[in-house]
Symmetry: C2
Subunit: 370 residues, 2 copies
Amino acid sequence: MSSSLVVSRRNRRTPYTDRVEACGVQDYSIVNHMLLPKSFNRSVEEDYWHLKTQVQLWDVSCQRQVELRGPDAGRLAQWMTPRDLSHMKVGQCFYAPLVDEAAGLLNDPVILMRAPNWFWFSIADADILLWAKGLALGMDLDVEVTEPDVSPLAVQGPRAEDLVALVFGEEVRSLRYFQFRELPFADRCLVVARSGYSKQGGFEIYLDDSSLGGLLWDTLWESGGVFDVAPGCPNLIERVEGGLLSYGNEMTRENNPFEINLDRFCRLDGKVDYVGRVALQKIAESGPSQRIRGIVFEGRPCPPCAAPWPITIDNKVVGQVTTAIWSPAFRKNIALGMVTKDHWTFGQAVDINLPDGETRRGKLCQLPLR
Amino acid sequence: MSSSLVVSRRNRRTPYTDRVEACGVQDYSIVNHMLLPKSFNRSVEEDYWHLKTQVQLWDVSCQRQVELRGPDAGRLAQWMTPRDLSHMKVGQCFYAPLVDEAAGLLNDPVILMRAPNWFWFSIADADILLWAKGLALGMDLDVEVTEPDVSPLAVQGPRAEDLVALVFGEEVRSLRYFQFRELPFADRCLVVARSGYSKQGGFEIYLDDSSLGGLLWDTLWESGGVFDVAPGCPNLIERVEGGLLSYGNEMTRENNPFEINLDRFCRLDGKVDYVGRVALQKIAESGPSQRIRGIVFEGRPCPPCAAPWPITIDNKVVGQVTTAIWSPAFRKNIALGMVTKDHWTFGQAVDINLPDGETRRGKLCQLPLR
């Protein structure tokens, strides 16, 4: 089993790893120094169809929480993102870019406001804990910055609401997208949010007691029997079709939020201050030089994209593909890529240059792909 | 091939990945969001004997550099570590613990002083870049904190000096341990240090131009023909025998530097100030409550240690094993583990509780194991 390659304490197991192994996990990726299941006993395509029709349990414990708590928690949270948090309410989730002083992206977490002085940043792959701690210490803020014992379990797919309602009650049906509520489970109250890294609908349960991991998994699993529940994980085909970006893939510190189309999450009028504001305002004046686009291209199924592939027009490089995979629904290859300003029009014909030297004809599309 | 599980741009390839693949790499681990080869076409034991007798090339590009450069570089470097850097000279490498405000370990890099206002922190697995940037920004320091295009290639083993001398000249023989010099290669000067993550002697070459990765690898490889050169990577048996610790395995934020026996690298008299000084002084007053020990234990080869195993005496938990492996030299299992104060005496008999319920009799030993 290829997961042998990640066996060490450094690659942390999760509260659900025992269950995931019992379900026959085949391999893992590592995100935030923690195991993220990558596949079970079926192909990405089979998993894709299941996710789009049924319900899955995903061990996304690797979405670690960076907790800011204390009198200056709100001040630090706002300092860390260009998104205006002033109107944020307890019980809301905000998708928020984090940038450095040069407006380079450091992460794109979902922020949860647990209380006025208490935030969770549910992060993608980077040690934002250290960034937040460094800022807090350097600025001498009165805030505790920690990684609490919180391990999200995602329930995703069109039957997710029915399943979560069986376990947490009918109340979950009234939760709006990116809202959360604390709901009882095993003598505790768990944060249950309508959210998740797919476009098929679903919930994320923020388990805050590792010792209950097995019980939470088993309870959902047993209730899920009537829905053909299966173990799952973020599905690459579904993610690309849905235009869901991935930190480290579609964006790095080299990119600013405009380039990944997050203009609406950047407050630029100076009424809110944050790290990178001046740099971001400057970039906004002339506009970004490149933007993320969907791409559809021809030919047989492409290999995985391990390093960016050049996008060219008449042999001139105009961008790069960052993620690509064959889509069984489109019967074409689909991709995400960064394209320069003069060429980013939807419908633009482009060439995708694969690592083996082959060139494929494609065109730029809106996200999500339709 | 199991390396398929890490194919995405997020798991960054290195300047040597093409060569490592041509050598038949079998799987990878991920360190600092970058590929670290974990094995080639032979067992850990075969690799162990080769490392102890010949010479190997290791792609340790994942030892990313955090560069501090500018008027406040020295001030920030010192602020980040309890080790006294005041007498550090250009051309020296210092092994240095990094801790947070509670004296919890954040990393254990090797610091290189390139110039009085220019440092590289060659880091273990954690985004110290973000910690350093956060501190610098919060404290409003005049320093550039970056991850430069620097990818170390290690040459390790008893024939390493002979091989490196063939490529970089006889001058390398006069380099003392943890010294570096800039030596010419392909119209550049590369930092060559006598250092590395083994006890077999060797060098690390800090390539600062990715485009030369293939050339550097090939030049060493071709010169190494006469020495039975082989591709390699940190060897778990050799590392445990040598008492080399691993961030994330033997130490986490839960540990302080005394617990991993770094007392000599903590300046406590108040003449040097740094993050965590007060917390560290307080811990020093009563002394640490646990310390890292070597452990040798009986029975057939143990499984890999994916999560800490309890160490007990008369069924009372007195510590935990963090890394363990069968040693062909000792004909016993060898391990690293944290043991509480009342029981950490060398020679202490202990029981190791394996995950399958089996208990093995062992004893505590000094590091490195002999």
